[in-house]
């Protein structure tokens, strides 16, 4: 009796609270509706459809774990894609995270006007979408390619190298370009973080025996910037595992021997080219799970330290 009453009482209380806060729900409603439609629903759809043989035309049939079985046991290209994605993400993710921090720190050491200019120089690549074409010119395989002509002229190599189709170099080229344009949101966040650090802390630190700016950053600034570091980590994971567009544009799709084939490229292959959408959704789901896992681990490491 008592349990039942308290439950109905709670329901009534909640109803009252919702009514009292109706202005709040009214204000968040448009955003939440769009958020659910374009962010939550796609994730749910990916998970749901990954258990079917959906192809956009016929009604999907439930096939259980078939897609996942094929993915891990019979799809050699997927294994290559996973390997490539991990290499790209594990190299560019941490490297660009550190680069974002170190360059934000160094630029912040500069005097006013110079600081503003350098911020633009370092941030510009990440927002100038169309510039990718110049990289194909730099890495162009003939003698007129910028890198080749430079290396031939100074005698480092005798014949031009096919940077974007030779499997020995493709991955390195992608990593360089990916790093080049990765100083984005996290970089800005760190830049801003350095500005907010309380400078009296540095004076106190100097009295306590902080001898140089490296010690200053390590002992004083880093601990203060934890919120920005956490945010930056999320941004870096989001962009480094979603790698795909740049390799596809640089080295072609599909790339030679799948040397720069990523999970995203594999999704595109099955989704847009072969219309095996159920299977493509299974690939997306695996990527989502990997990202969630990595995010958990990175968060734990950052919070504990």
């Amino acid at each position: 009796m008592r349990v039942k009453r308290s439950f109905s009482q709670r329901l009534k209380d909640n109803g009252k609270r919702i009514k009292a806060d109706r202005a709040c729900y009214f204000m968040i409603a448009p955003f939440m509706l769009l958020f659910i439609t374009f962010t939550v629903l796609p994730v749910a759809a990916a998970i749901g459809l990954s258990f079917t043989d959906f192809n956009m035309l016929q009604t999907p049939n439930f096939v259980g774990l078939d897609n996942y079985r094929t993915l891990f046991l019979n799809d050699d290209v997927f294994i290559i894609a996973v390997k490539n994605t991990l290499i790209l993400a594990m190299v560019t993710g941490p490297l660009s995270y550190i680069a974002c921090y170190v360059f934000a720190w160094f630029i912040n050491e500069l005097p006013g006007k110079l600081r503003a200019i350098m911020t633009v120089v370092f941030y510009a690549p990440s927002i100038s979408g169309g510039v990718l074409t110049i990289w194909t010119y730099i890495f162009s395989g003939d003698r007129l390619g910028i890198l080749n002509s430079f290396l031939v002229r100074f005698g480092f190599i005798d014949a031009p190298i096919q940077w974007l189709t030779d499997t020995d170099y493709m991955m390195t080229c992608c990593i360089i370009v990916q790093l080049w344009l990765s100083l984005g949101t996290s970089f800005l966040s760190f830049m801003a973080g350095f500005k907010t650090v309380d400078t009296t802390l540095y004076e106190a630190g100097a009295i306590d025996g902080v001898k140089n700016r490296f010690q200053e950053v390590w002992f004083l600034t880093l601990p203060q910037m934890k919120p920005q570091l956490l945010f930056g980590a999320v941004m870096q994971i989001a962009s480094s595992f979603a790698v795909g567009a740049i390799p596809m544009q640089l080295t072609g799709f599909p790339s030679t021997d799948y040397a720069t084939h990523t999970i995203i490229a594999h999704v595109q292959d099955y989704g847009s080219t072969r219309f095996e959408l159920g299977y493509a959704c299974a690939i997306s789901t695996v990527l989502l799970l990997v990202m969630l896992l990595v995010n958990k681990v990175v968060n734990k490491v950052l919070v504990d330290n």
């Binding site: 909640n14 609270r17 806060d21 204000m27 968040i28 448009p30 955003f31 769009l34 374009f38 962010t39 796609p42 994730v43 459809l49 360059f103 160094f106 050491e109 500069l110 350098m118 911020t119 120089v121 510009a124 690549p125 927002i127 100038s128 979408g129 169309g130 510039v131 074409t133 110049i134 010119y137 910028i146 002509s149 002229r153 100083l183 949101t185 800005l188 966040s189 801003a192 973080g193 500005k195 004076e203 100097a206 001898k211 140089n212 700016r213 919120p227 570091l229 956490l230 945010f231 999320v234 994971i237 989001a238 595992f241 979603a242 567009a245 995203i264 999704v267 989704g271 997306s284 995010n295």
Partner: protein
Amino acid sequence: MRRIRIHKQLNRSHFGNFTIFFGLVAVGVFMALPLYLSIVTSLKPPEELFIFPPRFYVVNPTGKNFSELFQLVTDTVVPLSRYLFNSIFVSVASTTFGVIIGAMAAYPFAKKKFLGRETMWKLIMLTLLFSGGVTALPSYIIKAKLGLIDTYWVLILPQLASTLHMFLMRQFMLQIPDVLLDAAKIDGAGDMRIFYHVVLPNIKPAWMTVMVLTFMSVWNTGSAGVIWSEPLKLLPTALSQITTAAISRTGVAAAASVLLMVPPIVSFVVTQSKMLQTMAHSGIKD
């Protein structure tokens, strides 16, 4: 006077200053080189484009690549002005509604208590992770099922649901003092009035940042893949279509990429201080 100077130079050696400066310049050259090369290449006449070794500067700069690019765009079925109109229309609609809808949602999440707030916020934070192209395929399926493909809506609506932008505005609102809101409440203002007259003016840097970020996102995402009708395509898509077609040459392609990179970079240069002000609040407190 001297004392203040010493304070400013605390723990800063001249040697360190110079090392940092030249190190930054070296990396800065690498960062700027592709942008610089795009500009140089776009100004080169044909006879300078195809010499060995390629020059890092231009002897007789010409606007021919740009005029040729405009000619190519004009020769297509759709006039250039239409692509430009599409880009402007979608940008303006996305930035305006994006700020209104995002800020309106950010306010309760920052300053109000209501049932389900924590759960919803956790979900939103989780999806910050998926802002990349990871869900592109299932999103496409949803957009197709809703009949949005090949309309302006497919370009505008997803921009309005950006969790990152909403998050940035919410973080900025957290630092508005509660007394300010309470004072307005005592004066008899309702939530909408407080939002419009107190909150919005106080988060100006944040919504300006979100406008710039939305514009960059619209500009750089383009309309490839979701728009098939030529008259609805955005300018960047039209330009890259032309430059990837067989008719193009290196110079024309470079001219197109220069045109594409100018608007986002200029918008950042103009709003840099506002954006940094906003980003100062971007931290995640656990």
